[in-house]
């Protein structure tokens, strides 16, 4: 496969536009589904009503504005920012897990310390870290060039940094995010040309290490056990299957789903795909898969035609961030994978995740828009302006 050369910025503008449309469609579907799946749920004795949908809507607004802003900035400004972003991420993760951090900075929610509060803004740090790691990996892979094929000089620095970050996230605890971040880093390296033999070796090590971590946390072992030994009538995953299955071809109708009535916990986040499949049926499943498929197709198209290696790796990482997460989420709800706490990008309830995903889309669009614009390649302090100055 050879990448089509992009001769001028306007040539493939439809790609970035379609990307934005697909994203907006998924976000809108998400808000509607969250409203349906959460409005009758009680949290701390109060009926949630429209409050989750409203929260998600504000997240969509903020994320949408950030996306538009980021899309107009040359993604290449991120290259020099990669290290500072990464170090800030590590610092944030350390602050969160330190036992003496006051709870107004790092509150404990549902038994895990995952949130960071800065002034009025509260966000799930690992969501931001996810983005920072992709940018950093893309930057380092670009810098290493052919060196990534070597183990010591090429792969080692990645392993060290990814190991530190995954370890810190594991301590929150948030195993699925740790695995996902390692996976995304791996995908960027894979795209950059790292040796497949190395991946096989690392994969083996990861499986062994992962199993040990799983055994140390009871709920994880239980989830794995449930996956391996089949779901029982009362389990979350079984209820997910009941919901999906009873959707049949056309679904039970929007808002008519019953599984959210306390049968299926977190129908608005960790199991939102199940709620969609129940209410919209097999057609809804196909629609959602198609939307994500278009997204991945467009993302990888942009990656192939990106102006430089950094853009290519970054685009691969960002696309994978959406595509792989979505796939894992769907696989979990369909009992193709053990239960994890992964959300469906753009759709599931969660403001941090939504904003970060939208910012990621903004970067992706920026990469797409910069194709055929060699002006900013040197990486100036104001690439946007630099781009306008170079008319060719």
């Amino acid at each position: 496969m050879t990448a089509p050369a992009v001769r001028h910025p306007g040539e493939l503008r439809w790609e970035t536009r379609l990307l934005a449309v697909v994203t907006a469609t998924l976000v809108a579907l998400g808000i509607a589904t969250i409203y349906g799946a959460s409005s009758l749920v009680r949290s701390r004795g109060e009926i949630i009503g429209g409050s989750y949908a409203l929260t998600q809507f504000t997240g969509a607004l903020v994320g949408g504005i950030l996306m538009l802003i980021v899309a107009r900035i040359d993604y290449r400004v991120l290259r020099p920012l990669a290290w500072p972003l990464l170090l800030a991420s590590i610092l944030a993760l350390v602050v969160i897990i330190l036992p003496f951090t006051p709870s107004f900075i790092a509150p404990r929610i549902n038994g895990a310390k995952r949130w960071l509060r800065v002034g009025p803004v509260q966000f799930q740090a690992s969501e931001v870290v996810r983005l920072a790691v992709i940018i950093w990996c893309a930057m380092l892979a670009t810098k290493k060039g052919e060196q990534v094929r070597e183990f010591k000089k090429g792969l080692m620095p990645f392993l060290v940094i990814l190991g530190i970050i995954s370890g810190l996230i594991l301590l929150q605890p948030n195993m699925s995010m740790a695995v996902l971040i390692s996976l995304l880093g791996g995908i960027v390296l894979f795209a950059a040309g790292a040796k497949i033999g190395h991946f096989l070796l690392l994969g083996l090590g990861a499986v062994i290490g992962g199993l040990q971590v799983i055994q140390r946390a009871g709920y994880r072992a239980e989830r794995l056990d449930k996956f391996l030994n089949g779901a029982e009538g009362t389990s979350q995953i079984y209820q997910s299957l009941v919901g999906i299955g009873s959707g049949r071809l056309f679904g039970v109708g929007f808002g008519e789903g019953q599984q959210k009535m306390g049968y299926l916990p977190y129908a608005y986040s960790d199991f939102i795909f199940s709620a969609i499949a129940e209410e919209w049926g097999f057609l809804g499943v196909c629609l959602v898969v198609t939307l994500f498929g278009i997204f991945v197709w467009l993302g990888l198209r942009i990656a192939r035609t990106a102006e430089d290696a950094f853009g290519r790796y970054l685009a691969v990482g960002l696309t994978a961030m959406v595509g792989v997460t979505a796939l894992m989420h769907m696989a979990v709800t369909l009992s193709l994978m053990p239960t994890t706490g992964l959300t469906l990008p753009f759709v599931s309830f969660g403001r941090s995740s939504l904003v970060v995903s939208l910012v990621g889309v903004g970067i992706l669009i920026s990469i797409g828009r910069m194709r055929g614009k060699p002006g900013g390649r040197l990486g100036g302090s104001a690439p946007g302006r630099a781009a306008t100055r170079s008319p060719r």
Binding site: A191, Y263, A277
Partner: protein
């Protein structure tokens, strides 16, 4: 650089594979297995709920409530669902009789407000249909008369709400009704969503039971017993009052205390037999009259109050004493009047053991009286071939056999009822919830115990007892004569008769000339200075009757009391039916061959069999048998195939 492009292509292919797997799996679940999962979902979301049926009430003969089931409500308010919080707060406060300010304060919290109550249906009437106000109803059993007649009424089990004792248990099938059924949606936490509920079957409320008990007479009896046990320092006692023309039990009081433990009122009038002593002399007298072994002038020598009764041919003897020592000879009437043990022992020598036994059997001793009650003792009456010569004398004096207070009252009722023994009953009517009478008690003759002429003679004897010089003179009423017999029996305890411990009793019919009531009053072990039946139970009876007469409404028929001056009003006592329709309960020992375990078992089909064969079959299955009619068996109640408990009575209808 072609390499990255190939890698990206590989990545894309893997993601596509993943997407295909997702779609494939979804297709499998939704298209192939869809119907199964949907059925699964339906099933787990629906729940069959039992709609409890209102349990029937238990009332006294005049309709006074003794046990009723009422629906009580718990009220819950969801403040944010109220249409008009200000107006609704006032409505709620008024209905629940709470201060308005408090309700307003509760509503202002915007949180669910529970008012547990319980409130009855009338109180929450205005709250029905008010948006945001939720009523949670529950049936509760309630005994408005408090402890009155509780031994008879019984109670419910705590968990199931089924009868546990007394009438509640005996007639549970009538009272319980049939619960309804509905299908409701529910979530995993068991919260039910009522709106799409579907009623499968309406609950059918239970039937109302009207007892034969007269609450007023019952209260008089209970109070009299309480006073008497205190006054005479008795361990306990029983009072049974029944209507002699119908067999209806009007009052049943009991108290018992074991050792120093607290007083209970078990239904000892059904369950605890006692040796009746002199109150039973009348039945031997009845046998003597029936077989014409004495006439009114026959006399026996009363031995001046002490008689050595030879117990074997080698000269062994036991001394029989009389409290009321009679000099010279005495007639049968005198023997009853003065309660002479010696005279009765001597007269009884004119009867064979079988004749004596049959006389007692005829009055219903030794077999359950057949009251609708879960537990009833048969009493004790040994077969005559087991009697020795002293046992015969003992039986004549009222020892060596045991009767329950209800049996004693029923037997005296037979004497009052011209010799026909009626089955005593507790149930007067059963009505459906709409008030339609489904069952009405009719007098159920068991058998003719003695001829009307003999019954009249026996009544005449009884009048002597309470006449001048009789042992129960203190029982006499000024206006309406009472006829009765006292008894003071030594208590048999720990294998021997206990000197100084007595059972004082008095069995009576009233009024003497046109009897309406038969009574058995018994005191266990009175410890005071007085312990004779004549000085304890007899005056108690008089006090009770005086109270009953003074009360506005009791089961006493005043028109009959006006007396024979107005013949039109003295409707003749209902001609007792000859026992063409006889009801015999065989009390054979219940040793079932089919199943050693007690429990419910099917009634076998015995239609077409002879009575004897049918009864045998039923006995082997562990049932008791009541017979209606004679000839070949036509049917049974419960019908063949129905199940009934171990020891339940199966009635055989024969023609």
């Amino acid at each position: 650089m072609a390499k990255p492009a190939a890698r990206i292509g590989l990545l894309q292919a893997m993601l596509l594979l993943g997407a295909l797997a997702v779609v494939g799996r979804a297709g499998q679940l939704q298209l192939v297995e869809g119907a199964k999962w949907r059925a699964e979902a339906e099933q787990s979301r629906k729940e069959r709920v039992v709609l409890p049926a209102r349990r029937g009430g238990i009332y006294d003969r005049n309709g006074d409530a003794l046990a009723v089931t009422q629906e009580y409500f718990e009220v819950g308010v969801a403040p944010n669902e109220l249409r008009s919080p200000v107006r609704d707060a006032r409505t709620i406060a008024k209905a629940l009789k709470l201060p308005v300010a408090r309700v307003q304060r509760d509503i202002a919290t915007k949180k669910w407000v529970p008012y547990p109550g319980p409130y009855n249906g009338l109180e929450v009437q205005d709250l029905r249909g008010l948006r945001g106000v939720y009523l949670d109803g529950e049936y509760q059993r309630h005994y408005p008369a408090g402890p009155l007649a509780r031994a008879v009424i019984g109670g419910l089990t705590a968990d199931s709400g089924r009868g546990a004792s007394g009438i509640e248990l005996a007639l549970d099938a009538e009272l319980h009704g049939a619960p309804g059924e509905a299908v409701v949606l529910k979530d995993t936490r068991g919260r039910r969503y009522v709106s799409p509920s579907r009623l499968e079957r309406e609950p059918v409320p239970g039937r109302d039971i009207y007892l034969t008990i007269d609450a007023e007479l019952q209260e008089i009896a209970e109070r009299a017993l309480e006073d008497a046990t205190r006054e005479f320092e008795a361990r306990g006692g029983d009072i049974v009052i029944l209507d002699v023309h119908t067999g209806e039990l009007l009052a049943l009081a009991s108290r018992s205390r074991d050792g120093d433990r607290s007083v209970t009122n078990r239904a000892t009038f059904f369950t605890d037999p006692f040796e009746p002593g002199s109150t039973a002399k009348l039945f031997t007298a009845g046998a003597l009259l029936t077989h014409a072994r004495v006439d009114s002038t026959d006399e026996v020598f009363a031995e001046n109050g002490a008689w050595r009764f030879p117990t074997n041919s080698r000269g062994a003897f036991r001394t029989i004493n009389d409290v009321h020592k009679i000099q010279g000879n005495v007639t049968l009437a005198g023997a009853i009047k003065y309660s002479s043990n010696i005279a009765m022992a001597k007269f009884s020598e004119r009867l064979t053991p079988t004749e004596q036994f049959e006389a007692l059997r005829a009055f219903g001793f030794g077999s359950p009286a057949g009251v609708e009650f879960p537990s009833e003792a048969r009493g004790e009456l040994r077969m005559p071939h087991l009697w020795d010569s002293y046992a015969k004398a003992s039986v004549a004096m009222g020892y060596a056999f045991a009767v329950t207070p209800v049996q004693l009252a029923a037997a005296y009722g037979a004497i009052a009822n011209d010799g026909v023994l009626l089955t005593p009953t507790l149930v007067r009517e059963i009505r459906d919830p709409g008030g339609k009478v489904l069952y009405q008690h009719r007098p159920e003759p068991v058998r003719r115990a003695v001829s009307p002429a003999v019954a009249a003679r026996l009544r005449a004897y009884l009048q002597l007892v309470v006449g001048d010089g009789g042992t129960a003179e203190s029982a006499q009423l000024a206006n309406y004569p009472i006829a009765g017999k006292t008894g003071t029996a030594l208590r048999y305890d720990g294998g021997r008769y206990q000197d100084g411990h007595y059972t004082a009793s008095f069995a009576a019919i009233w009024p003497a000339d046109q009897p309406q009531l038969a009574m058995a009053v018994k005191l266990d072990d009175p410890r005071g200075s007085r312990y004779y039946g004549g000085t304890t139970a007899a005056p108690m009876t008089r006090a009770m009757l005086q109270e009953a007469l003074a009360s506005r409404r009791s089961a006493i028929d005043r028109r009959q009391l006006v007396g024979p001056a107005e013949p039109t009003e003295t409707a003749p006592a209902p001609e007792p039916e000859e026992p063409a329709v006889s009801r015999v309960v065989f009390g054979l020992p219940l040793q079932a061959d089919t199943a050693a375990r007690p429990g419910r078992r099917p009634v076998p089909n015995v239609a077409g069999n002879s009575l004897r064969k049918a009864a045998n079959t039923l006995h082997r299955r562990g049932f008791r048998v009541a017979v209606r009619g004679s000839g070949l068996v036509r049917r049974t109640t419960p019908v063949a195939g129905d199940s009934a408990g171990f020891g339940a009575i199966v009635t055989i209808w024969a023609e």
